[in-house]
Symmetry: C2
Subunit: 430 residues, 2 copies
């Protein structure tokens, strides 16, 4: 009797899960890739959809289409509800999948630090739908301000609060400030959008605090030059609809509040019965498997990995891709062995290629290897690297076109409001 082909189940088609499927080349194994979306999302450019620079399809690709020629990969649009480690089975909403190897790559979700009720007031930015919702609300606020006669209401409509001064918060705040000051500026007759306020709230004493001090300082200065009001060492104490209270007692009336502060791992991690960190990330072994289950791996933002130098591996795309590649080679090797077995395994090792954040037109900070850059050089590097890594030739070309267009014309290519019926459900201001 022929040996049955080994079954590999991959949950999540983000950078980790997708890289795994693209790297894995043992033809006899059958892979099932499960994601609740039909598309792979290029998260690093999501803030540009939220700020009307790019359209949603330009940073997304159908998962099926990316893996079209990988005939041993089956893609299912579904969601895992349970993981039965003892039975080696994943329970989906519509079926159950037995596995020989399981790769968990479900990424993170927005965390409100014990205040889930704030979600309704301050949407996070994790999916295309989040981005389209934020874009709609920001653009609508200016449309309403143009017809508003009460100066206090007009001020609220033209105020936006971004909570969290990490890369996402900084990129959002910078892109909003440019949108108001450079793009919308000429298009209104009764209001002046360049007077709109963008307020960035950060709990630590510095924005971009994961970067070396000089880069973080430069990032903050570049952001201020764009007109962003930065409030460091400041926490959100309370929140209501269109209203924020800070821990120093200040209150801000803002039509839009965007949450870019916390990330928590997918709740599926709680099903594994293993140790998690505070954000719900799975504490994996050096080979990225979980204790007692060498056939189960957790990669990307869902895992907390301590590198050989004792430092945690950052939750960024290159790290997730490296983990996907590592696990793919590891499983390939085990399947290729004359007698398949699980041990011993060389540990995962993270290769730090650097980190970067863009702030605005010709403004960015970047650390590449030992080198640090700010301003236009960092910005050019940022553009180049993001274009290279964007999945799909058409998307690269389309995004390049959009960026060239915006650079030359000071316009944005996706300044449209869609999903108005959803908006009508938002409670009117009280």
């Amino acid at each position: 009797m022929e040996k049955e082909s080994p079954r590999i189940v991959v949950l999540g088609a983000g950078f980790g899960g997708l890289t795994f499927c693209q790297t894995f080349h043992h033809a006899a194994a059958r892979i099932t890739l499960v994601d609740r979306q039909n598309h792979h999302l290029f998260q690093p450019l999501l803030y540009q959809v939220a700020t009307a620079g790019l359209s949603a399809p330009e940073i997304a690709q159908p998962i099926r289409s990316i893996l079209s020629d990988r005939l041993n990969v089956t893609v299912l649009m579904d969601e895992a509800t349970d993981i039965q480690l003892a039975e080696k089975q994943v329970v989906l909403k519509q079926s159950a999948l037995p596995y020989d190897y399981l790769v968990l790559a479900l990424g993170g979700m927005t965390s409100y630090f014990g205040h889930p009720e704030w979600e309704q007031f301050a949407p996070g930015l994790k999916s295309l739908d989040d981005a389209i919702k934020i874009r709609r609300r920001i653009l609508l606020a200016f449309e309403k301000a143009e017809t508003e006669t009460d100066p206090a209401v007009r001020e609220r409509l033209m105020t936006i609060v971004v909570v969290g001064g990490g890369p996402t918060g900084v990129e959002l705040a910078g892109a909003f400030a440019e949108l108001f000051r450079r793009v919308l500026k000429r298009d209104f007759r009764r209001i002046d959008p360049s007077h709109a306020r963008v307020i960035l709230i950060e709990a630590s004493p510095l924005v971009l605090s994961h970067l070396p001090l000089e880069l973080a300082t430069s990032g903050g200065e570049q952001l201020k030059k764009l007109g962003v009001e930065i409030r460091v060492s400041t926490k959100v104490k309370n929140m209501r609809d269109r209203w924020v209270e800070l821990d120093n007692g200040d209150t801000i009336a803002a039509e839009n509040i965007v949450w870019a502060a916390g990330v928590a791992a997918s709740p599926v991690s709680h099903k594994l019965g293993v140790e998690l960190d505070r954000a719900g990330r799975v504490k994996v072994l050096p080979d990225l498997s979980i204790a007692g289950h060498p056939e189960v791996f957790v990669i990307g933002d869902m895992a907390t990995v301590i590198d050989k130098d004792g430092k945690p591996v950052p939750g960024i795309c290159p790290a997730a891709m490296q983990m996907g590649r590592y696990v793919a080679h590891l499983i390939e090797d085990e399947l290729a062995a004359p007698t398949p077995s699980h041990a011993p395994r060389a540990p995962f090792s993270y290769w730090d290629k650097g980190t970067m954040a863009t702030i605005g037109r010709s403004a960015a900070v970047a650390k590449i290897g030992r080198f640090e850059f700010t301003g236009i050089v960092a910005w050019a590097a940022w553009l180049f690297i993001h274009l290279i890594f964007l999945v799909g030739f058409r998307n690269k070309l389309a995004v390049l076109l959009q960026w060239a267009y915006s650079y030359v014309t000071y316009k944005r290519g996706a300044r449209i409001v869609t999903g108005m019926s959803a908006e009508l459900k938002r409670a009117p201001p009280s």
Copy 2:
């Protein structure tokens, strides 16, 4: 005392209203343009958004941005609720606008021929939101079919009914058939999307019946070659969720039904107290004004205009643009006259540049002047003309890129599902 500048209110920023604002050049007049969307929509390519070929922002432009340098034009995102002809005033949701001239250009909406309850089962295609909803539902149907084990349910999931064999219905049916047979074909493992059924229902004996007989016949044949099942001389008798009954007694179980059959004028036309045709379109005078109110004009799809040869002017973009231009010049002339007065006026005259419909890759029909084309020549003409008329340089370039990409790779650039939360509200099949 200086004479007050005349106030012109334009309702609707479609082809008619926008062309009016772009043509009108009497600097002293103040124009207020009101639309409930923030964008001008290039309707002729809307079906390509619904069929995953183009992204929404590629066929839309912010109205403010188009009219940015027209300093005497104020754009308001609002909706007219009443028109008070005697007071010369338009009532919006948020304010009231007095006018000296009023231009009504609100276009049409989907009509269900006395069956408004069918709307929930068969969405129409008038806005970007409609298109995104149809795209989502079509793509989801195939995702569900891939995980479905019941053959009858799988067949329903892979069946789509398009009601109405005019240009929109034909373009939709052709684009669906190509999407299934050429684009999705390679990307599934358990189903074969090229077996999906596209059924086009048309009440008259011919699809594209507004075209000369040979063109209409050719259009139908090209459509059949793509695999579309055409049922002419057939009417929808009854409809339920995911189920259509035809007047010959046949019933079809279809996950998706798209309504491309009827157009009715904006309900605002009923506020005018003048004669309407069966579709609610305003019967205007030869100068496009309404009886008794030479200061009120109705243009585009909202008006029914009989040309000097006795034939009705068709409800297509070039006609709306010609009307917008005609009324702009007419009002300019009246305002420039030493003693402003309303009479006499030369009648509007429609210049028929032709008509065309695309069916699929290298397949189309076109009538340009006295010349009739089919196949690849008509298709090339269609592409060229639509690119020329698409508003905005960036959009032209982006759409050209998308078309070239699709032509070469047999892929589609916007095959993504967004708005899933809206979808969860759709009732499950009973």
